[in-house]
């Protein structure tokens, strides 16, 4: 006996529906993860720009002390908004130059991020 439903207009089977939902859910999860990653990456890159500015300021401050012939072996640290900085000036006896290390650190989503830079300055 022929079916009264034409095979051409039959609906989805339960299995097809579950498969489609699974694929759709996986797609949505991937898109949401990508958006979340974009937000994190944007925030981090903005933080890095601010940290680089702070590091440059701190290096220029030492260059000024160098020009004033007031550069000495020091270790300093401080805060600038969300960012903490630490700076050390150590005399390298072999090179007869001051080695300067600058570390900028900050917290982003519960994790500590850091940026470090080093340079040599004249004695």
């Amino acid at each position: 006996m022929a079916s009264k439903y034409s095979p051409r207009i039959r609906g989805f089977s339960l299995l097809e529906l579950i498969m489609a939902l699974a694929i759709l859910s996986a797609g949505i999860v991937v898109v949401l993860q990508a958006l979340s990653f974009c937000a994190q990456a944007t925030g981090l890159s903005c933080d890095i720009v601010a940290a680089v500015f702070l590091a440059e300021d701190k290096i220029q401050e030492l260059e000024f002390q160098e020009a004033q012939e007031a550069l000495r072996e020091t270790f300093e640290k401080g805060d600038s908004g969300r960012f903490s900085w630490a700076r050390s000036v150590i005399l390298d006896q072999d090179l007869n130059l001051y080695k300067t290390d600058i570390k900028i650190s900050w917290q982003r989503q519960g994790r500590i991020q850091a940026l470090e830079a080093s340079t040599y300055l004249r004695k």
Binding site: C38, A39, T42, S45, C46, V49, A50, F53, E56, D57, Q60, E61, E63, F64, A67, Q68, E69
Partner: protein, 167 residues
């Protein structure tokens, strides 16, 4: 036209801030004095002007050129005036300033000097007095606040290589 999303707007804000401050830093660190007792460095709380060396393409070669550069706000725009070569000292040259950025909320300059009393670095709001015109400030502290969808504040202290190293 489709509006950019929040991420893109935030990136654009930081790109603009970085571009402006890098440009200002380059100009300020290349600044030089007009004569032995006249620097032509003029600074107000929201405006600055000085002589500097800028890069210019001439016959496919990058050359250094003398210019008078000034930064000032105009409504919510940051304007940069650059008068090159012989026009540098000609105030009637008619050179129009270029727009550097839109969405300027605040622009503030402070000028650093060494206090002779305790030899510490201090900052003041202007650098216009006749006595100040003989030397450069030690440093220029720039506060730039830009906004599009969000607001972002940038602060930089730029030390000038030609500043007097001792008082």
């Amino acid at each position: 036209m489709k509006k950019p999303c929040a991420f893109i707007l935030r990136i654009m804000l930081f790109q603009a801030g970085r571009f402006i401050l890098e440009r200002m830093q380059l100009d300020l660190r290349n600044s030089f004095a007009y004569s032995k007792d006249q620097t032509r460095f003029l600074g107000l709380s929201d405006e600055i002007s000085f002589l500097t060396l800028i890069d210019t393409f001439w016959q496919n070669t990058l050359i250094k050129e003398v210019a008078l550069v000034s930064y000032s706000p105009q409504d919510d725009k940051l304007m940069r005036l650059c008068r090159r070569g012989k026009q540098a000292l000609d105030e009637k040259s008619g050179v129009a300033p270029d727009e550097m950025a839109q969405g300027l909320q605040e622009l503030n300059f402070e000028y650093g000097y060494i206090d002779p009393l305790d030899e510490s670095l201090k900052f003041k709001d202007s650098w216009v007095l006749e006595s100040e015109q003989k030397t450069f400030p030690v440093a220029v502290r720039i506060k730039l606040v830009l906004r599009n969808k969000s607001v972002q504040e940038f602060v930089r202290t730029i030390y000038l290589p030609l500043a007097p190293v001792s008082q």
